[in-house]
């Protein structure tokens, strides 16, 4: 069965957890900019955590369903509804055949990830269903959704069917994940980083500036990276490096001295010196940054970055076990 995007919204694309194994051919990781949010939404909808969902940027999506589905979303502060019923972030909700899910413009943050039970059934390209908007493959022909587009959905899982029956009365589940997971957007967040691979290319004064001052998100930001305005970060010399690998979270400094925080659709290699590397768990916060937002950076040791990641994974495992009770 299908769901129809009556209104596709500002930029809405199909994303899963991205593609690995093809970086040596220049193919980006891609996938949901906040993979954790998509995993949580998928679990809530009774899906495998890697199922393809929708990445909704700046809202505006209206999606009409042809059959019964469980939906759940995580992301910025949005007003989301099914028909006239409010659906807060992080709650599994029942959509009946013919009903519409709609999401308005954000109050805080800019992106939301919507999971639909059964997942979105587009062909797997190079190991992923994610839309690669720059090279034009994956998702729906490698482009954002269009108004009136039909999306094919997979079959409801056994878990989703149980939930559909349970939610016939209340329509929306009371239980929810930790607030940080369902609503990661923050005003003036501090992003934690570990030292960049080219730390030596910057003086101590520059590093000090990087952590002492606020930076503003430039309008010229997208799924490839977030451009930042703030103090001009001087490099020790103007020579770019021979290109080497970069990754989501890399903060690179071009000759302009204005840093760029790379996200999932970034190039696989780059030649600008890397001053810092934002830790994986804080990329959920970075994925919500919109033009004009201000951010700060704070350095932590790599061992702490791993500890934070392991804690989140352990908690997600607990959450998954806890959910199992609702699917019985």
């Amino acid at each position: 069965m299908n769901a129809r995007a009556i209104r596709a919204g500002f930029v809405t694309s199909i994303q899963d957890l991205g593609r690995t194994g093809f970086r040596q051919f220049g193919v980006s990781l891609g996938g949901a900019l906040d993979g954790h949010a998509l995993r949580v939404a998928n679990l809530l909808a009774g899906n495998d955590e890697s199922a393809a969902g929708l990445e909704i940027t700046f809202g505006g999506l209206r999606l009409r369903f042809a059959d019964e589905r469980i939906v759940a979303w995580c992301g910025g502060e949005f007003d989301a509804r099914i028909a006239s019923r409010s659906v807060p972030a992080g709650h599994a909700a029942l959509v009946l055949a013919g009903e519409e899910f709609s999401i308005g413009s954000p109050g805080l943050g800019c992106r939301a990830w919507l999971a639909i039970s059964g997942g979105i059934d587009v062909p797997v390209v190079l190991g992923s269903r994610s839309a690669e908007l720059r090279a034009g493959f994956g998702g729906v022909n490698g482009r954002p959704l269009r108004d009136g587009e039909d999306l094919r959905l997979g079959e409801n899982s056994g878990h989703a069917k149980v939930l559909i029956d349970k939610l016939r009365g209340e329509k929306i589940a009371r239980w929810k994940p930790p607030h940080d997971w369902s609503s990661p957007a923050r005003g003036t967040p501090t992003l934690r980083f570990i030292r960049g691979a080219d730390r030596n290319r910057f003086s101590d004064v520059t590093i000090q500036q990087f952590t002492d001052y606020e930076f503003a998100v430039s309008p010229d930001s997208d799924r490839m990276g977030i451009r930042l305005n703030g103090p001009v970060l001087k490099r020790r010399n103007d020579v770019d490096l021979l290109s080497e690998a970069v990754a989501p979270g890399t903060v690179q400094v071009p000759p302009s001295g204005k840093p760029i925080l790379l996200l999932n659709d970034c190039q696989t290699i780059g030649g600008y010196p890397k001053i810092a590397q934002v830790i994986t768990v804080d990329l959920s916060v970075a994925a919500q940054l919109c033009p004009g937002n201000r951010i700060r950076f704070a350095e932590i040791p790599i061992g702490d970055a791993h500890t934070l990641l392991f804690e989140r994974e352990r908690n997600l495992e607990q959450f998954r076990l806890g959910l199992a009770a609702h699917f019985r």
Binding site: F25, L242, S243, A245, Q267, E313
Partner: protein, 237 residues
């Protein structure tokens, strides 16, 4: 050799100190390191990707946690695994070194080559000599990047090395062959770019429906062959 974290889920292994003086040597070291790291099957490692003088190893920290005995030790453990994997000077498997030469047909004419005349002028030679020189060399693919399937080729004759354009073009057609400084390369998909465009190939450099999706990969040997407009049109129809 230098091993540095590229965040909490990747490591950069810098295997060659110097590129300009010995690009072939750097490429050899990079390919050997990539092979060694792949063969070592380190728990948690997802992929290994080569660049000019470095190899990046991407890993899932969760996959390394058990073996590493604790979160605080994951990087130290990965570093140790890399050192062990690269301890013996591995020789490249014969099949990689002996790979045949990939021939790329290029039409160096008209609108396919908007910057050919300028490259010729800067080199102080006739444009036909630029084409002859470009087709005379054997190139090596040092890495793929910038866009999916874009090969960075070393081995460009010095005479036709031309610095990048001051103002990059907003859109360069797929198949365009360019010169950027001492390198030459091919734009696999329509994209912005600052290289000097001297021709176009009818070959598809990237196809997401194929596996591998890129025509070329690091280590490949490449030659260009000049074709006429008629040949170009025949191969695209």
């Amino acid at each position: 050799m230098e091993i540095v974290p590229l965040g909490d889920s990747a490591v950069l292994v810098r295997v060659a100190e110097n590129f300009d003086d010995a690009p072939e040597d750097a490429l050899h070291k990079v390919l050997a390191a990539k092979q060694g790291l792949e063969a070592a099957r380190i728990p948690g490692v997802v992929e290994v990707t080569p660049a000019y003088t470095t190899v990046a190893l991407f890993y899932d920290p969760m996959g390394a946690l058990d073996a590493a005995a604790g979160a605080k030790n994951v990087f130290g453990w990965i570093e140790q695994q890399i050192l062990e994997a690269l301890s013996d000077d591995r020789e490249l498997a014969a099949n990689r070194v002996a790979r045949t030469i990939v021939e790329i047909p290029v039409c160096y004419e008209g609108e396919f080559a908007p910057d050919l005349e300028e490259v010729a002028q800067r080199a102080g030679i006739h444009w036909k000599e630029v084409v002859d020189l470009h087709c005379s060399a054997e190139y090596r693919v040092h890495c793929i990047g910038f866009t999916p399937g874009f090969p960075f080729l070393g081995g460009l004759p010095r005479k036709i090395a031309t610095s990048r354009r001051d103002v990059p073009r907003k859109e360069i057609p797929a198949g365009s062959v360019g010169i950027g400084g001492k390198q030459t390369g091919i734009y696999p998909i329509k994209s912005p770019g600052g290289w000097n465009i001297i021709g176009r190939t009818p070959l598809r450099l990237f196809d997401s429906k194929k596996n591998p999706p890129a025509l070329l990969q690091a280590g490949d040997r490449v030659r260009f062959r000049s074709i006429t407009r008629e040949e170009f049109e025949r191969s695209t129809s």
